[in-house]
């Protein structure tokens, strides 16, 4: 009886939706910013990502066209189980349509599963693992900003070319670190270098001394840091204490973000090479956005590429929904539309989204300026190389994504 009743109710609700759909399309959107709001990655995404999402909503001018857009945000504390719990509730109860940011690869892979199951959209701008568009790709996920393959390809290759032919990895022990280490090791070996060893450290480690000592004992020319955020900045600072760089070994930051360089200071960070796909001072478009962003940030920080990606990804998402005339609340359908349309926004320029969910744009190899070269606060990078969009990411055929036939 009970079940019959609820089925009946559900049926009515469905027909109501269908009926209203026929006359006027549903124009409500709910955006969920799922990120690390308090931990070691909070400066990379965190509150800044929520701000970027709000700016995208404002700039798209949807409210003026009869749309109703809500932004909610939550802290996953870098724990996949907490992330999936929040995501499940967002999907079941709050009816969130699209997830953005979702940094931390472990959380991202878990949430991507769930988003597919409940047919919503995930525009991942924060996680690094290339598996999101590889064996774990789904028709509901777009990987927007960067990935481990691209980082390895750009930074790894450049370092081996510069003579760094023996590597020791210091790896964050979870999905992200493993993927970055795997992809970088492949590039190193392919370019004629060799990997002499690896040590894994727990996420959010405070004292790296014993790991650094193992790296030091390996005598490798390059110590590749397959970690991110607070873990990377700690490693760099503590390496100085044990005389690692002065002993002739070179630290390679495989994934560094602008806020990390800011936290380290130019005196420590100068000369580091790494790859990003966005920098606030690239062109007029990025400068205008970043200044507006920075004015609204609590600490006046310039946007990281993750935060910029949230803005860029949502702008494209809105375009797709507008083109569809309303929100069908059908994730796979929206993502298909997004893949169909070329992307274009002031932050990442013109680009496209591949069938495996990979957003394509150029990758930039930067070098951190010396204190003398820097003209003011946040003037940190100089561009030393660009990989064009079509070569920056892993070729479709090598990803093993089931969507690619």
């Amino acid at each position: 009886m009970k079940q019959k009743l609820s089925k009946l109710l559900l049926g009515t609700a469905l027909s109501l939706v269908a009926a209203t759909g026929a006359f006027a399309q549903d124009k409500t959107i709910k955006i969920g910013v799922l990120t690390d709001n308090s931990g070691l990655y909070a400066d990379l995404g965190g509150p800044g990502s929520t701000l970027a999402a709000q700016m995208a909503v404002e700039d798209a001018g949807l409210a003026g066209k009869g749309w109703k857009v809500d932004v909610v945000s939550a802290d996953h504390q870098n724990k996949p189980d907490i992330g999936t719990n929040v995501a499940r509730q967002w999907l079941d109860v709050e009816k969130v349509d699209v997830f953005v940011d979702v940094l931390n690869s472990g959380v991202a892979l878990a949430v991507s599963n769930l988003v597919k199951e409940k047919n919503a959209v995930l525009i991942d701008t924060g996680a690094a693992t290339s598996d999101l568009t590889g064996k774990a790709c789904t028709p509901n996920t777009i990987h927007w900003v960067y990935d481990t393959y691209m980082l390895a390809n750009s930074t790894g290759q450049a370092l081996v070319k510069a003579g760094g032919d023996s590597w020791y990895f210091l790896t964050a022990d979870y999905a992200f670190g493993h993927a970055l280490e795997r992809d970088t090791a492949a590039v190193v070996t392919k370019s004629g270098g060799k990997v002499v060893g690896t040590v894994r450290h727990p996420l959010n480690t405070a004292d790296f001394s014993s790991f650094l000592l193992q790296a030091q004992a390996s005598k490798a020319k390059i110590i590749g840091m397959a970690n991110a955020g607070g873990d990377t900045t700690n490693t760099i600072k503590q390496a100085a204490e044990f005389g690692i760089v002065s002993g002739g070994q070179k630290l390679a930051g495989l994934l560094l973000f602008l806020p990390d360089v800011h936290a380290l200071g130019l005196k420590v960070a100068q000369g580091l090479n790494f790859t990003e796909t966005f920098y606030w001072d690239l062109n007029d478009g990025t400068r205008t956005f970043s200044k507006r962003f920075s004015e609204r940030m609590k600490n006046k920080a310039m946007p990281s590429m993750i935060q910029a990606g949230v803005y860029s990804g949502l702008i494209h998402y809105f375009k797709a929904l507008e083109a569809m005339g309303g929100n069908p609340h059908d994730g796979a359908k929206v993502v298909a539309k997004m893949k169909e349309m070329p992307t274009d926004d002031p932050l990442f320029g013109k680009g496209s989204i591949r069938i495996d969910g990979r957003k394509i744009h150029p990758a930039y190899l930067f070098e951190v300026k010396t204190p003398a070269e820097s003209k003011g606060p946040w003037d940190y990078y100089k561009l030393v190389g660009t990989t064009p969009a079509d070569q920056a990411f892993r070729p479709l055929s090598e990803g093993a994504c089931p969507l690619v036939k």
Binding site: K79, P80, T84, V93, G106, A110, N113
Partner: protein, 322 residues
């Protein structure tokens, strides 16, 4: 142990009839949950924790042993079940058996080490053992470390019960909870339970009466661990993941808190406590670490002014044991 039990001890001899009435009321209330529109995921989670807290309570409330490492059973069973379901593709009932058996084996090993010391040392040892397990699971490949085991298939129980239907899953979890609860209930009222209580009250006297108290404690520990593991196995089907959170010391602390809030040594207290704490976490989830702060405040308040817990106070008021 005397002080802890003086306060929590029932005010009058318990009557089985009262308990049966409350149990029936609880079962009926829980059975109509799916019709109320309450988010079933929430209730299922609370049920798993309620069973876990009941298992923990068996040890502290009736055996006088405060385990500060009960998360290790929850987590171990969770990992075993999750691995069996996902990697070996076994059916749900086999998965539950594997998880529960894993927790039982763990209980066997850890009890042998931890009951060598009493009181405060027992608590520290169980805490340290669970931390040892935590580091092992952090590094063992099959648990996937920080990432945990994700996207676990719920499957068909006995080949025809479809667990991916939330309503069906709810009743399966409820059945598991009620079964586990009845087993604990039966244990407490058995001769074995009586001896346990005697040990709690006065161990030297129990020894002088000829009871091998260590064996009783050992058995209680294993039973408690096994049931906690059973709760952990059930939870896998609800959360569809197994992660380090479940083996972390803060989880052990939460189990203690649930039981303390509900009432140490009461039969229904842990159930009430689990629902209160899970509801609190649910509604305060958006307030960051305030949840931790409030949990701490509850701990302090319970210890200083409210040692009987919710159910203990109610029972005290009506001069009944519940």
């Amino acid at each position: 142990m005397s002080a802890m039990t003086d306060d929590t001890l029932p005010a009058s001899p318990r009557t089985l009839r009262d308990e049966m009435i409350v149990f029936a009321a609880m079962a009926v209330l829980l059975a109509i949950v799916p019709a109320t529109g309450i988010y079933p995921f929430f209730v299922m989670q609370a049920l798993c924790f309620a069973l876990l807290a009941c298992a923990f309570n068996l040890l502290i409330g009736f055996g006088g042993l405060l385990s500060f490492g009960h998360a290790m059973f929850l987590g171990t069973a969770g990992y075993f079940t999750a691995h069996a379901l996902k990697e070996w593709g076994v059916s749900p009932e086999i998965g539950i058996v594997i998880g529960t058996a894993g927790a039982a084996a763990l209980g066997l090993i850890t009890s042998y080490v931890s009951i060598r010391r009493q009181g405060i040392y027992f608590s520290m040892i169980t805490l340290a053992l669970s931390q040892l397990l935590y580091f092992i699971y952090l590094q063992a490949p099959f648990t996937h470390g920080e990432d945990g085991i994700q996207g676990i298939p719920q499957g068909m129980m006995f080949g025809f019960i479809n667990l991916s239907n939330p309503t069906v899953l709810y009743y399966v979890v409820l059945a598991g909870f009620l079964g586990g609860f009845l087993l604990i209930f039966r244990t407490i009222n058995s001769p074995f339970g009586e001896v346990l209580k005697a040990i709690r009250e006065n161990e030297p006297r129990a020894i002088s009466l000829g009871y091998k108290t260590d064996q009783y404690k050992l058995l209680a520990f294993i039973l408690s661990g096994t049931l906690a593991g059973f709760a952990g196995s059930l939870k896998v089907f609800v959360a569809q993941n197994a992660s380090l959170t479940d083996v972390h010391w803060s989880m052990s602390g939460e189990i203690v808190l649930m039981t303390l809030v509900g009432g140490l040594g009461t039969i229904f207290g842990p159930v009430v406590g689990a629902f209160v704490i899970i509801a609190m976490q649910q509604y305060l989830a958006g307030f960051g670490q305030w949840v931790t702060v409030i949990q701490g405040v509850i701990f302090v308040a319970c210890v200083l002014t409210f040692r009987r817990g919710i159910v203990g106070e109610i029972g005290h008021y009506f001069r009944r044991s519940l």
